[in-house]
Symmetry: C2
Subunit: 436 residues, 2 copies
């Protein structure tokens, strides 16, 4: 506690950078506290990342999985939102610097700016194999997927046609698995009767994973169930395979000593992540304070080891104090850490003792197409239809705003009945079949 906290009547200033799961939950947990909250984000909305793959596959619209931050927090009088990019943090002067020159002073700072995708030193792959982190990424992927089918329809050469009908997903985590399942349903059901020259069911969907199983953070039993579900949908799963090269005609990968190539015009990246630039900014040149992925090593209270005024939460934080294992980059961790940071600030302001952060594991889930999912909830591990129904209702409930819940529910019911994906619009700059 500083002199300012104790001796002036000015309310304590809490600045939060990032309006994702962590930052938003921190802001909401400070609602009734006698503090002045400033939430800074580069976007004017909170994104419900777990459903972003459904935007990328034309099942939902961007607005269905996004909620304007100002709408969520409009009645929270102690909170201001600033739409801006943070360019620096001066921890000595307790100031956040914004692009354009503005400064936002803080007494306590919570940083939860997440991660970006990462190509392991091959940044040139990013144009060819986009990742899925933002709404813009999702719309880019959506255009690529549906334009590939359109291009195949207009392509007279059968070899090229099959290249356009081949989709490679790099990375067998939840995003890769869920994208693969959705792609299979698009090819087998949604587009089944849409074309006259091609049969969309001829599409090949290939999931490449470096490890020996998909969903490596889940129990092996569920990985096996997920693989069976993918297989039933026609997805080819290649484990123990490392991508060594990506170009605009396909990928090369090493699998058990041999190198193979898949000719494919659509490659999607769900393999690696690296911390956002805020990690480097907080490190202030001390690389030892970051892990290999650029995540910030935090103390048991989620603080920077040398600065109790700064909390790092969510995917950006590297927290290992509970089990010795780093916590996964999932929404549940970010939500709990956001709330914890807020409560810790309140407790410390009141001069109370605080306990270290403890993660309470609520379970893991991934859905694989319609009717199938795998779930690991409080040690109860199950898969199939029951898991899928759990997945559906859990995700509906977790959507922040009621209108999102309603819209997503309507579209899921509709999709369940008809297989139609009404949001499969080809938009943006490149929207015509490619001829080469």
């Amino acid at each position: 506690m500083t002199e300012r906290d104790q001796q002036t009547s000015l309310p304590t200033r809490v600045v939060i950078i990032g309006g994702g799961f962590g930052g938003l939950n921190a802001a909401q947990a400070l609602k009734s506290a006698n503090v002045q909250v400033t939430l800074i984000d580069r976007r004017n909305f909170h994104l419900f990342q777990p459903l972003l793959y459904q935007v990328a596959t034309g099942g939902l619209s961007p607005a269905d999985v996004s909620s304007p931050l100002r709408a969520i927090l409009k009645h929270q009088k102690n909170t201001a939102i600033v739409l801006a990019e943070v360019t620096g943090i001066d921890r000595a002067r307790q100031e956040v610097h914004l692009r354009g020159g503005d400064c936002v002073p803080y007494d306590h700072l919570i940083v939860g700016t997440g991660v970006r995708h990462h190509y392991f030193g091959h940044d040139d792959w990013s144009d060819i194999a986009p990742g899925l982190k933002t709404i813009e990424d999702a719309l880019d992927i959506r255009t690529r997927i549906f334009l590939a089918f359109e291009t195949a329809e207009r392509e007279p050469d059968p070899i090229k046609q099959q290249e356009w009908l081949t989709f490679v997903l790099v990375g067998g985590g939840p995003t890769g698995v869920e994208l693969a399942g959705a792609l299979a349903e698009i090819a087998n059901e949604t587009l089944r009767k849409d074309f006259r020259q091609i049969d969309p069911r001829r599409a090949r969907i290939i999931l490449i994973e470096g490890n020996d199983r998909v969903l490596t953070s889940y129990p092996p039993k569920l990985s096996a169930a997920a693989r069976r579900s993918l297989h039933r949908l026609g997805v080819i799963v290649m484990t123990e395979s490392l991508v060594t090269s990506v170009d605009d005609r396909g990928v090369e990968f090493k699998s058990k000593e041999s190198t193979q190539r898949i000719d494919a015009r659509t490659v999607l990246w769900a393999a690696g992540v690296r911390a956002s630039s805020m990690g480097r900014i907080l490190a202030e040149g001390n690389d030892k304070s970051l892990d290999r992925s650029g995540r910030v090593l935090v103390d048991p209270f989620l603080n920077l080891p040398d600065d109790q005024r700064v909390y790092v939460i969510g995917d950006l934080a590297m927290f290992t104090h509970q089990t010795g294992q780093p916590l996964a980059g999932v929404a549940a961790v970010a939500i709990q850490q956001g709330k914890y940071a807020a409560k810790t600030i309140i407790a410390r302001l009141a001069g109370k003792a605080v306990k270290p952060f403890r993660y309470s594991f609520p379970g893991d889930m991934a859905t694989i197409g319609r009717n199938h999912a795998v779930a690991d909830i409080k040690g109860f591990r199950y898969s199939g239809f029951l898991a899928w129904i759990s997945w559906v209702f859990l995700h509906l409930m977790k959507l922040v705003e009621f209108d999102n819940r309603l819209l997503v529910f309507v579209q899921w019911v509709w999709y369940y009945i008809t297989h139609n994906r009404g949001a499969r619009l080809i938009t943006g700059e490149h929207r015509l079949p490619i001829r080469d």
Copy 2:
């Protein structure tokens, strides 16, 4: 009828360019005919243009007002869809040329490619004052509107702040009037409690119209009612005012001999249209076959005067045979003309006599914010809440696909209760407040 029609067993080939209201209705009217239909469009979806202004103002998502053409026509076995850009039409050889080199031969051709906005020789205004014709336009306008409020929130200079809170709409037709009404509701209701530095109700919304009334194609009584509704919402309507210059800080206009200037950072264009490039292509160098806006003069059967194999429909056609007055560029005209062209082709193939096209006026409507609209239906002219309810249900019914109807209905009910516009996302390239 040519030799091919009569003597070969090959089905007659009908090619339709444009999947708007005209082209789509033509294709659907050919469903049971013994013809082979090819529908060519640059986009993979049909756009319900009358609700596009709601996308531009964050009330609906793009997919809510769009339907994939393949989804609409998937069960129509005699119809193929080609996603391509038409670069030329060879009427002598009866071929449509596509970008990339492909040729599509036709026996009968229906062209309904609509209009683009038009700046009366000031194409440089288009970057500053975007028009509203495509999904991309709508998203661009959406970003500009909500970014303007965000920029005002961060702008310390009160004069610049007011510039960011000033919105100018050029053109008092249905699009200008509906955009103005929606903008007023955004400022007065949706964003009312969202900001901490600005009061969104301070926003000035100014509608500039060259004529002496808004909605000039409607009866004067309804124009007056629309103006009253706009006035009640706080919109400033300036009639008999001609915009003479647009720059990135505002507009200049001439009004009763004097020239005035309005400083505004957001200018939207709803004033002029010009026929799509297909008009010039059909004219084959003969400018007399086009009107001043580039629309194609058609004979009483919607054919080119010298070519009964080519039909021009919708906004692209200039049809004056019924009353001496050109028909308005509205959905109802395009729908009726599309159906007429299809039926005329079928009748002529059967060797039957055909009657000239006659437009049956179903009415005009425009909505002005929540609860107010003006309507002119079969001579019954009314305004206010009753007109608004008619507008709501008519537009819901007219949406092509059932899932669109459901989604739009849900969002309208939700908006009616809460004033929330969940789709007010700032997306695309420029999404941070502007400092200058």
